[in-house]
Amino acid sequence: MTDSPQDDAIVAGTAGPAAIEALQDTEPSKPPRSRGRDVWDQFTKHKGAMFGLGFLAFITLAVLIGPYIWTVDPQKLDIRNKDMRPIYTALWDGDAKVSWAKPLGSDQLGRDNLAQMLAGGRASMAVGWAAMVLSLVIGTAIGVAAGYFKRLDGPLMRMTDLFLSLPILPLLLVAVTLFRQPLRANFGPEGGMFILIVTVIAITSWMPTARIVRGDVLAIKEREFVLAARSIGTQDGKIIRRHLLPNVLSPIMVSAALGLATAIITESALSFLGVGFPSDFPTWGKMLADAVQRMERFPERVMLPGIAISLTVLSVNYLGDGLRDALDPRIRGR
C-alpha cells in the first residue's frame, strides 16, 4: 500500500490542505474490472492450463481442417505401399521404407497413417464432446430439479446413488454388445455406433455433475436475490434460467472438462476392447488395438495414437485444473 496517496501524505508529514485533499474521493483511474477479465487473468497464470487450451485448440483444428488439407482417404487400401515407416525413421535408419507421400507411414493394409490419425481424432473428439454435452445436460437437469424442487430431491438423489453403485465398465460393455445390432440396422453401422456409444457414456457419467449442481443450487436458492426474484412474482422456470444456472456455471464448466477427458478415454477403451466402431472406421483406440500385435516391428503405430490420446486427455485435465483455479474466487487474485 505504499503507492496510495494517503501513505504519501503520512510519509511527507504535511498537515493542512494536502491531507484534506488526500481524503477527498477521487474518480477511479480505470474502470472496474469485469469478472470474466479476472477469471481470464487468473487462467493465463496457470501454465499447464494455457498449454492445455493451446493443445486442445490445435488438435481440434487439426482434426476439423486437417482432412481438407491432407485429402487422402483414410480407408483406401494401398497394398503396394504397405508397412511404410514414418518419414523421420530415415534419420537413423537409411534403409527404412519411407516416402514423403506417407509422412507417418502406412499400416499392414497400406492405409495412410496420417489420414487415419486425423479421421480417428475426428471420431474420438466428436464422441468425447457429444457425450460430455449430453451428460452435462442430464446431470445439470437432474441436479437443478433435485436442488430446487424439494419434492423431487429424495427420489432423484436415490436414483443418482443407484446409478453410482452400478459397475460402469461391465455395464458399458453389456450395453454396447446388446444394442449394437438394432441400432446398426436403423442408423447405419457408423451412425448407430456413434449414437450408442455417446448415449451409453452419457448415461453412465452424469452423476457427479448432478451431485455438485444440486449442492450449489441448494445453497443459492436460499440467498436474498432469489427471494427477491420470487417476491416480485418470477416463475420457477425463469428463476432457474436467470438466477440459478448462471451461478452454478463454474462447477459445470469444471466437470465439463473432466467429463470430456473421461469420455475420450472410455471411447478409446471400448474401441481397444473391440466393441467400438466397425473395423474399417478408424478411431485412436482402434488404431492402437490393431497395432498391438505388430508393436515389436512397428512401435510407432502404437505410439502415435497412444500419444495423441494421452496428450489430448492431459491437456483437457490441465484445462480443467486451470478453470477450477480461475473460477474459484478464493484463489483468484493471489
Binding site: 446413488d161 461391465p170 454388445t177 508393436m295 494421452s310 492431459l314
Partner: protein, 335 residues
C-alpha cells in the same frame, strides 16, 4: 452409529434387487442364442429341449425368480456344504454357465485369486507410493518436488492403461527382455527361483495399475493435507514447540487421512472387479478377463452373476466408506 449402519444395510437390499432386476431385463434383450454353436444337423425340437434345459423358454419374470433363488438360496447352501461337508444342496440346480456348462460360482472362485493377487498387490503398492508423495508435496507446496509430483500424477491420470501396458511391453519385454509380456497363471511358486519368476511377471501389470491408482490417491492426499495444514490447531501445535515431524506426521496426517481412507475404501470393489483392460493387455486370467470372454461368448448367466457380484461389492464398500468416515471423524453424526 449402529442404527445408521443397520438402516443403510437394510436399504441396500432393495437397491441391489433393483439393480439385479434392471441388469437381468437388459440381458433379456440380448440378441444371442446359446444354441448358436450347436451343429445344424441337430433337429429344431431337440434344440428347443436343450434351451429349456438351460432354463430358457419361460417368461422373463419366472427366469429372474429362479436366478434369485439360485444365487441367494442354493449357492449359500453349496458354500455351506463345502465348508462343513453336509449335503443340503445335492441335486439342486445351480447357476450354470452356457459356455462351459459348469456352475458359474466355481469358475469365479477359480479366477478370483489371480485378480486379487495382481490387482490387490497393485493397490497396496499404489497406497504405499501415493501417501508419502501426497504428504511431502503438500508440506512443500509449490516446491520442485510438488511441481514434479503434480505433473507425474497428471500424466498417470491421463495416460490410459491400454497405452501404458503395450508401452511397457515394448520397452521391457521386447527391447530389454527383462519381464515376460504375458502373465502365466499356471505358474506355481514353490522355491526361490519360481518366486523370482512370479515377481518378474507381476511387475508390469502391477506397475500399470499402480500408476493410475497412485495418481488419484496422491491428489486426494495432497489436497487433504493442504486443507489441514492451514488450520488453527497446526499453528497451536507449532506454537507450543512441537517438532515439525510430530506436527506433520501426527497432528496433520491423522486428520488428513479421514477422507483419504474413505477414498481407499471406495476403490476396493475395483480390486475384485478386476482391471478389465489391464488383465486383457497382460492376459491375466482374472475376473475382468472372465467377464470380457463371457460377454463375447454371449454367456448371459455368467455376465449376470458377475455384474451382480460387482454391484454387491460397490454397494457394500460405499456403506463401509460412510461408516468409516463416521468412526474416524467424531464430528460426523449420522443420527
Amino acid at each position: 452409529m449402529l442404527t445408521y449402519a443397520t438402516r443403510r444395510l437394510i436399504l441396500s437390499i432393495p437397491t441391489l434387487l433393483f439393480i439385479s432386476f434392471v441388469v437381468f431385463m437388459l440381458l433379456q434383450l440380448a440378441p444371442g442364442d446359446p444354441m448358436a454353436q450347436v451343429p445344424l444337423t441337430v433337429p429344431a425340437e431337440v434344440k428347443q429341449k436343450m434351451r429349456e434345459a438351460l432354463g430358457l423358454g419361460q417368461p422373463p419374470l419366472v427366469q429372474y425368480w429362479k436366478w434369485l433363488v439360485q444365487v441367494f438360496w442354493i449357492e449359500p447352501q453349496v458354500l455351506f456344504d463345502h465348508l462343513f461337508g453336509t449335503s443340503f444342496s445335492e441335486g439342486k440346480l445351480r447357476v450354470i454357465s452356457w459356455q462351459t456348462r459348469s456352475p458359474v460360482m466355481d469358475i469365479v472362485v477359480q479366477r478370483i485369486p489371480q485378480t486379487l493377487w495382481v490387482v490387490g498387490v497393485a493397490y497396496v503398492v499404489a497406497i504405499l507410493i501415493a501417501l508419502p508423495i501426497g504428504i511431502y508435496s503438500a508440506y512443500r507446496q509449490y516446491s520442485v518436488f510438488d511441481q514434479a509430483g503434480t505433473f507425474v500424477t497428471m500424466i498417470g491420470f491421463s495416460i490410459p492403461p491400454f497405452f501404458t501396458g503395450p508401452l511397457l511391453i515394448v520397452i521391457f519385454s521386447v527391447q530389454l527382455g527383462w519381464f515376460p509380456s504375458i502373465y502365466d497363471t499356471t505358474h506355481v511358486v514353490n522355491d526361490w527361483a519360481s518366486f523370482k519368476i512370479q515377481l518378474q511377471q507381476m511387475i508390469m501389470p502391477v506397475m500399470v495399475l499402480a500408476l493410475q491408482i497412485t495418481a488419484q490417491l496422491s491428489r486426494y492426499m495432497r489436497a487433504s493435507m493442504l486443507d489441514n495444514l492451514g488450520q488453527d490447531y497446526v499453528r497451536t501445535a507449532r506454537a507450543k514447540g512441537l517438532s515439525e515431524a510430530v506436527v506433520v506426521n501426527i497432528h496433520v496426517l491423522r486428520n488428513s487421512m479421514i477422507p483419504v481412507v474413505t477414498v481407499i475404501a471406495l476403490g476396493v470393489p475395483a480390486i475384485f472387479g478386476g482391471a478389465i483392460i489391464t488383465e486383457n493387455v497382460f492376459k491375466v486370467n482374472g475376473i475382468g478377463q472372465l467377464l470380457l470372454t463371457a460377454l463375447f461368448a454371449n454367456d448371459l448367466p455368467m455376465v449376470m452373476t458377475l455384474t451382480f457380484i460387482f454391484a454387491v461389492l460397490i454397494v457394500l464398500f460405499n456403506l463401509i466408506a460412510d461408516i468409516l468416515y463416521g468412526v474416524l471423524d467424531p464430528r460426523i453424526r449420522y443420527d
